[in-house]
Amino acid sequence: MNIAKKIKSNVLVILMIIAYIITFIYKSDLVVVGLKNSLYYFKELIIIMPIVLILTALLDFWVPKKIIIKHLGKNAGIRGTFFSFMLGGISAGPIYAAFPICVLLLKKGASIRNVVIVLSSWAVIKVPMLVNEVAFLGPKFMLVRWVLTVFAILVLSYIASKLITEKDIAFESEQSTSVVFIDHTACMGCSLCTKNYPTLFEMYDNKVQVKKVHLTDINTKELNEMIEKCPTNAIHLEQ
């Protein structure tokens, strides 16, 4: 059971390792090429990710929910759309760099539509890219593509917002805002939870304590089951 879970959460790692092993056996020279290719992306990762993460954390701390809802929320209207395009357009780095900041925006009340706009414009119409495009393909190509892409993003974000409800993304985003804590006056140290969910709970001084784990790794369904199973109702989940 535990092994199955480990495999499931590392499926991509295993896939990658198998792919490299097979390549090594049949076309060993491609392994070197692959690693060399990866080098560029690692450089990009090191240059981009720290600032994106720091900016996201700063945004989380300093910008209140109210402001995000007002400017990027459901009722932000055309201004919200404009801000979303600006945010994506002035960005740097590949699309995955936009994920943490977009998750935060969603959590803070930005609408699905605006988050899709940020992600899409982050990917295809950012300013540094446009400069390159003019150099290689000419201003006319760039301008036509830019106009069409902006229009396409407007339409596709509208469709996406109709297809995706907040409930669809609540599962992963909600758990990262919640805090698990143990009511130590109620806990009698029965160790039921540490046995059933050793990744999250551990025994300390005959009481249970919550381990520090990254919240996206937590299985919310299992956690909720555990909360219900606890004989003294000592586990609490707070938003």
Partner: protein, 160 residues
């Protein structure tokens, strides 16, 4: 490093220092949170990067471009859109390739399809997107982006 990345770095450091002066303990929390988020992503990002490297080793973009140039319009468009879907390629490699495609007989439609799916649709980054936003969001966004990438390409073919 281009000017934009430097500008964002400077801006971020400026904000961070400002934050530190205004609220020392809060900024400590901020840095902890940033590190925590990084930890949550780093494993997947490393795997994704190694996979992209391998995909590009099997299908070097220049070879794909030469292959596409020899096909008829429909096959060229489909192949380039799918190739763009699988991986992500930095702009400085993508634009010269797209430029070559446009100059070749094949024309503008496959080139634009390639360029748009390249950056907007990501099969390799899909697991991370799913983890961040949930399955439905990731599927919907990627499928819609693919469809619209083809549409943009077709319309550009008519216009230019």
């Amino acid at each position: 490093m281009d000017v934009f990345i430097v500008a964002i770095w400077v801006m971020t450091l400026f904000f961070a220092i400002f934050s530190l002066i205004k609220n020392k303990s809060g900024t400590k929390e901020v840095s902890k949170k940033a590190v925590g988020m990084g930890r949550g992503m780093i494993k997947n990002l490393i795997v994704i990067i190694l996979l992209i490297g391998l995909v590009l080793a099997y299908f070097p973009p220049t070879q794909i471009a030469t292959f596409i140039e020899k096909q008829n319009l429909y096959i060229a468009t489909v192949v380039s859109a799918f190739f763009g879907t699988i991986t992500i390629i930095p702009a400085f490699i993508a634009f010269p390739l797209v430029g070559n495609l446009v100059d070749a007989q094949v024309g503008i439609v496959p080139a634009v399809a390639f360029l748009t799916t390249l950056t907007m649709v990501g099969l390799v980054t899909f697991p991370l997107e799913k983890k961040s936003f949930g399955l439905k969001f990731a599927v919907t966004r990627n499928v819609l982006s693919f469809v619209f990438a083809i549409l943009i390409a077709l319309i550009m073919g008519v216009l230019l």
